[in-house]
């Protein structure tokens, strides 16, 4: 991989890291969006979108409620989609390798989150003391420092997972252990994952049951019709 796409991938990872909880939360950190952006950067938008859907399915059921600690789904999609798209060969993606790298990257992101939140504790303490001693600009500086530190941390973990994904793909090229899967099989796995996770999250009772049945019928007819 040349330098320019690598820098673009680190930038995508940094934006996703910040959007996840410190800034805006516009959902550009969701795996679907990160995976698509990685695909566009590496010249395979359809593959990126498919792998974004794979990681969206993987992390769909994790809810950021309260102070819960969760794997970083955006970082998982960055690592996994980079490995999948750059390792695409003979009509198949290295699915087992990409999925495992994504899962590991998600947990690395969780560790980075904890680090930033602990460090934020010291920044918040300084800001509070500044306000208590009559300096109302303290919190503004704290916000700027925390966002800056988040960007640096996000760029660092993104660089690590992108480098790790590229290295893993080059080391394992041609090996059956990467678990090559064709796009069609991945598509079916995504549908199965979404159907199970979705039905457990949104039980099909009453009007939801009608929506479930209607959705199943219309989608099947649409796919068969388009096919």
């Amino acid at each position: 991989m040349s330098l320019l796409p690598a820098i673009a991938l680190v930038a995508i990872g940094t934006i996703a890291f910040l959007d996840r909880w410190p800034v805006l939360q516009s959902m550009v950190s969701r795996p679907l969006v990160v995976g698509t952006a990685v695909g566009v950067t590496l010249g395979d938008p359809m593959g990126g979108a498919l792998w974004g859907a794979v990681f969206e399915t993987m992390f769909l059921a994790l809810l950021p409620v309260g102070a819960s600690r969760l794997p970083d789904a955006g970082l998982a999609a960055l690592a996994g989609t980079t490995a999948a798209v750059s390792g695409y060969a003979d009509g198949a993606y290295p699915a087992a390798l990409a999925g495992t790298l994504g899962w590991l990257a998600g947990h690395l992101g969780e560790w980075a989150d904890r680090l930033q939140r602990r460090w934020n504790g010291a920044v918040a303490g300084r800001a509070r003391r500044a306000a208590e001693s009559g300096r109302p600009r303290g919190p503004g500086r704290a916000v700027a420092v925390a966002v800056g530190a988040g960007a640096v941390l996000g760029a660092a973990v993104s660089a690590v997972v992108v480098a790790g994904a590229v290295a893993a793909v080059s080391w394992t090229a041609g090996s059956p252990w990467v678990g090559p899967l064709e796009a069609g099989t991945l598509q079916v796995a995504v549908a199965a994952g979404l159907a199970v996770t979705g039905t457990r999250a949104f039980p099909a009772r009453g009007s939801s049951g009608l929506a479930w049945g209607g959705g199943a019928l219309v989608a099947a007819l649409l796919v068969w019709g388009l096919g």
């Binding site: 498919l50 993987m58 306000a131 009559g134 099989t185 079916v188 199965a192 979404l194 999250a201």
Partner: protein
């Protein structure tokens, strides 16, 4: 609404809503969203307290523990802006009343927002968009997902400051509105629609790959494995397998199965 010592104008309310996008920037394990809450409120405090020392005191009071859903937190900011006016006027006990109200709001705003956004609209739209991305929509699904989610979430963020300020201490009326329940119910219907569509599309996609029955066997096998991982692995007091690990296991098993059936690739 015109700006005066007692009333925030539109620009000030917009600034508060804009600052609320950084509400969690200094999120920490001691005061949670507290520092961001205080900083978001600063345009209002600057209007109410021209004296720097007094302004800093009130800012410090608002930097105590606060936590709620990030999109609904602006309702709390609006309420604080309104009641802070009484504190600035020197109404007896107003600061204690504001502090008690914000403490009570934390849980309610968190529960309401988490149910609506984190357990409702985000997964519902996520299912529909992921299905679209795996199907014909491809990369456009991600764009549609971001637009649809933000149309709702960021509108609520901006509306929250205005609604919170208008309601003040009567915020309970806003929170009891049947609109919240309707929006949550609608998200559940959208989620069920997406789950059903995933099942239907999965059957159709599966029948198109790997011969007449091969694809359907892959689909039903994946469904069965995921269902078992969620339900049965948690049997007899054990914790259920995490959904991400369950799906990763399915990917690895599918890869192994394809390797055995079709032989090594490459």
């Amino acid at each position: 609404m015109t700006r005066g010592p007692d009333r925030p104008d539109r620009r000030e309310r917009r600034r508060v809503a804009l600052r609320s996008t950084l509400l969690q920037a200094v999120w920490n394990y001691e005061t949670l969203q507290g520092p961001g809450f205080g900083w978001s409120l600063l345009p209002g405090l600057a209007r109410l307290y021209p004296d720097r020392q007094r302004r800093a005191e009130r800012l410090a009071a608002h930097m105590q523990v606060f936590n709620s859903n990030p999109y609904l937190s602006t309702l709390g900011l609006g309420v604080a802006l309104r009641l802070e006016t009484e504190v600035a006027r020197g109404v007896a006990g107003a600061d204690r009343r504001l502090s008690r109200l914000l403490k009570a709001l934390r849980g309610t705003l968190g529960a309401l927002g988490d149910e609506l956004f984190w357990a409702g609209w985000r997964p519902a739209l996520g299912i529909l968009a992921a299905l679209g991305a795996a199907g014909a929509l491809g990369p456009w699904a991600a764009l549609a997902f971001v637009i649809a989610f933000n149309a709702l979430a960021q509108s609520v963020r901006v509306w929250g400051v205005n609604a919170g300020f208008a309601a003040g201490a009567g915020i309970a009326r806003v929170l009891q509105s049947p609109g919240w329940r309707r929006a949550t119910r609608l998200s559940r219907i959208a989620g069920a629609l997406g789950a059903g569509a995933a099942f239907g599309a999965g059957v159709a996609w599966a029948s198109g790959i790997g011969g007449d029955t091969g694809g359907l066997a892959v689909f039903s096998g994946a469904i069965g494995l995921l269902w078992l991982a969620g339900l049965r692995v948690g049997w007899k007091g054990r914790r259920p397998m995490s959904p991400s690990l369950a799906f990763l296991s399915v990917l690895i098993l599918l890869s192994a199965l394809m390797h055995i059936v079709e032989g090594p690739t490459g």
